[in-house]
């Protein structure tokens, strides 16, 4: 069975071998033992509530209980931008109009901003290629919303997720080539490497600070603002199902979209429910797939299981109870894996 659970110190070796699979493009998961060990330590301190709320970094691993292998990783940072400035471009609108000439021009504008300072962030999602099937990706990504729903008091008003931006077939970013490069004279990959070393804010110092009309950029760069990398499109859809939206914030390098939501309006906050565990085997006509999470902070665990809930009770097999570290009479949080269709759509 696959379970997503709070990381523990012993996971460091498994995490390192996962990170070795990641390849470039994910700046927060580099295969470096020291930095990963540091991160695991912070995560353990976060789950144990030994560090202030805003400094926490909740890292989860997906554990294959069949072979004790780590199949994936994901994380929630409690707040961004409080140590180092967190930069985005925000797309705004400016209207220039002249009645005399009968001209009404609506211009998109890029503002360099730190508006998202203090938001929580979903990050570091990686699923090992061997496990990319079925609903494993959903379980891994969405497990975090179950955590947030259960511990909403630990999170700020808003949650964000940065998505990788569009790239050409040759791996270059049209937005970087048309904007960033003019102000840096370095390749995107070098800028990206610097970012992974935590140097993004310094690079941001070189980006144009005055508002920029999007129309000044070449068409190719305009076209990719807010577009994700082709490989990232599925991840984007999963987050959008949970209530996250592109609201006009993009990455300063590749213009990848930032998805965001009010925590209180996430589907998990509105639709997930607590239920009391009861033992049993799921009935032959299994319900729709659902996420089931225990309610422990330090030992948080989530699995995917058919929804077998009625009258505030959820039926779980003894195996499932064992993996979730819960017993009959305990509360679990449940939510369907995918949202119901909107009746008004």
């Amino acid at each position: 069975m696959l379970v997503v659970r709070a990381i523990v110190e012993q996971d460091i070796d498994g995490l390192l071998s996962l990170a070795a699979q990641v390849g470039s493009g994910m700046t927060t998961l580099k295969p470096d033992r020291d930095s990963l060990a540091q991160r695991v330590e912070t995560a353990c301190a976060s789950f144990a509530e030994r560090i202030p709320i805003q400094q926490r970094d909740y890292v989860f691993v997906m554990d294959d209980t069949a072979n004790n292998r780590l199949a994936g990783v994901c994380a929630i940072k409690a707040a961004v931008g409080l140590d180092e400035p967190f930069y985005n471009y925000r797309i705004g609108t400016l209207v220039h109009s002249s009645k005399e000439l009968k001209v009404f021009t609506r211009m998109d504008t890029l503002y360099l901003s730190n508006d998202l300072t203090g938001c929580a962030e979903l990050c570091s999602l990686f699923l090992h290629p061997d496990y990319r099937s079925g609903s494993n990706g959903k379980l891994l990504s969405k497990s975090r919303f179950m955590f947030i729903a259960q511990f909403a008091h630990l999170f700020p008003e808003k949650l964000i997720a940065e998505m990788r931006g569009f790239q050409r077939a040759d791996g270059t970013s049209p937005f970087w080539e048309c904007l960033g490069r003019h102000f840096f004279r370095m390749d995107f990959s070098r800028a990206d490497d610097l970012t992974s070393l935590g140097k993004k804010s310094f690079i941001a110092e070189l980006m144009p600070r005055h508002p920029l009309y999007v129309a000044y950029l070449p068409q190719e760069a305009q076209d990719v603002i807010g577009m994700v990398h082709v490989d990232t499109a599925p991840a984007r859809r999963l987050l959008e199902q949970e209530g996250m939206h592109y609201e006009g914030y993009v990455d300063i390098f590749d213009a990848g979209p930032v998805l965001q939501a009010r925590v209180s309006e996430l589907r998990a906050l509105r639709d997930s429910e607590l239920a009391i565990v009861q033992s049993g085997e799921p009935s032959s006509e299994a319900g729709p797939p659902a996420l089931v999470a225990n309610t422990a902070l330090g030992g948080f665990r989530v699995i995917a299981a058919p929804l077998a809930a009625a009258d505030g009770r959820m039926t779980l097999s003894s195996d499932q109870q064992a993996v979730l570290a819960c017993r009959p009479g305990d509360a679990v949080r449940i939510m369907s894996l995918t949202p119901k269709k909107n009746p008004h759509a």
């Binding site: 220039h96 109009s97 003019h182 310094f202 144009p208 600070r209 005055h210 000044y216």
Partner: protein
């Protein structure tokens, strides 16, 4: 003999004819019958006024060879560029971008819409017929305005500018406009120039043009290359004004990116190198080899200027004028004239 004099009501048909051959978007003389009439009336009132300080006066001059012949050219000078609303230009600023940790520091050029030039006196509307484009006439037409300013300095500011036409391609497309103005005006360069009648002091400029600095590195190479470059039609006035003491520096035109030439009064030859002389007999002239001089009558109304060949009036304080020049300038022995080498 070419003479520059204030435009009169009777010049209006001839000015209309001139405007008909001047290129749109390049020459800034008034173009429609109505605009010409307005400019002439305003000029006549300006010459007749006695301003205590520079205001909204605008002086319109014509160049003619013989009374009665078609006009050879026209040019104007305004007391205050921003008298009717601010005068807008792009200022070429330099921003410092620094990253200490990356040890990177560089300057980025930006264009900022500004009204810094509003208090300047402005040279504009210079146009000369094709067949008269020789240096002496062109110089006379252009510089006579500054001689007038030297004769009546209280009518002008102590700083002057002239915007030179920027480059356009064969299709009269301005690469600078394509990159900037078009995005806000949503129309062709020439159409915009026609609608705005070449002015740079209209409120609609604030309404439509960018409020934030434009980062030069983001402009297409063609537009960057056009910044500060002069249209072929502008080369002659550019050379004349450069010789006079004007220099292009940090301002460019907001539409076509042409350079704005600027000068403080004291840097201009018409002020610093001109001499006030008395008209004298042509008698004692023959000593030094003659050279060409611009000569202007020292009076504010019925101002006249022309070009003559004479020996240097430098030490004598007197200048000998041939009869036709006296007639052209309407001066007699003992009258004061202002002379400056061509």
């Amino acid at each position: 003999m070419f003479v520059v004099r204030p435009a009169e009501t009777s010049d209006i048909p001839a000015l209309e004819a001139l405007a008909g051959i001047a290129m749109h978007g390049v020459h800034t003389l008034p173009r429609t019958r109505k605009a010409i009439e307005r400019a002439v009336v305003r000029s006549i009132a300006s010459f007749a006024s006695c301003p205590e300080m520079p205001g909204d006066e605008s002086y319109f001059f014509v160049l003619e060879s013989h009374a009665g012949k078609p006009l050879a050219g026209a040019a104007a000078i305004s007391a205050t560029a921003g008298a009717h609303g601010a005068f807008f230009a792009f200022r070429n600023d330099v921003l410092q971008q620094v990253s200490r940790d990356l040890d990177i520091s560089h300057n980025v050029h930006t264009l900022t819409l500004c009204s810094d030039l509003s208090g300047y006196s402005q040279l504009s509307g210079f146009f000369l017929c094709e067949r008269n484009r020789a240096w002496p006439q062109a110089s006379l037409l252009s510089r006579a305005r500054l001689l007038f300013a030297a004769v009546a300095p209280h009518r002008f500011g102590d700083k002057f500018f002239a915007a030179m036409p920027g480059i356009t391609d064969a299709g009269l497309r301005s690469p600078f406009w394509e990159a900037l103005g078009r995005k806000f005006f949503q129309m062709d360069f020439l159409e915009a120039e026609r609608m705005i009648e070449g002015a740079r002091n209209r409120t609609l400029i604030v309404e439509l043009m960018p409020h934030y600095p434009v980062y030069v590195p983001l402009l297409p190479a063609e537009a960057q290359a056009a910044m500060g470059r002069v249209h072929a039609e502008g080369e002659l006035p550019f050379r004349i004004l450069s010789g006079e003491g004007f220099v292009p520096d940090e301002y460019i035109d907001i539409f076509d990116g042409g350079p704005v030439l600027r000068a403080r009064r004291n840097a201009l030859r018409s002020f610093s190198a001109s001499m006030r002389c008395q008209v004298a007999d042509a008698g004692g002239a023959g000593e030094a080899p003659p050279s060409a001089y611009l000569v202007a009558a020292m009076r504010e109304e019925k101002f006249r200027a022309t070009v003559i060949e004479c020996s240097s009036p430098e030490w004598s304080g007197q200048v000998s004028l041939p009869a036709d020049a006296r007639r052209a300038l309407d001066v007699a022995d003992g009258d004061a004239v202002l002379c400056v080498e061509l």
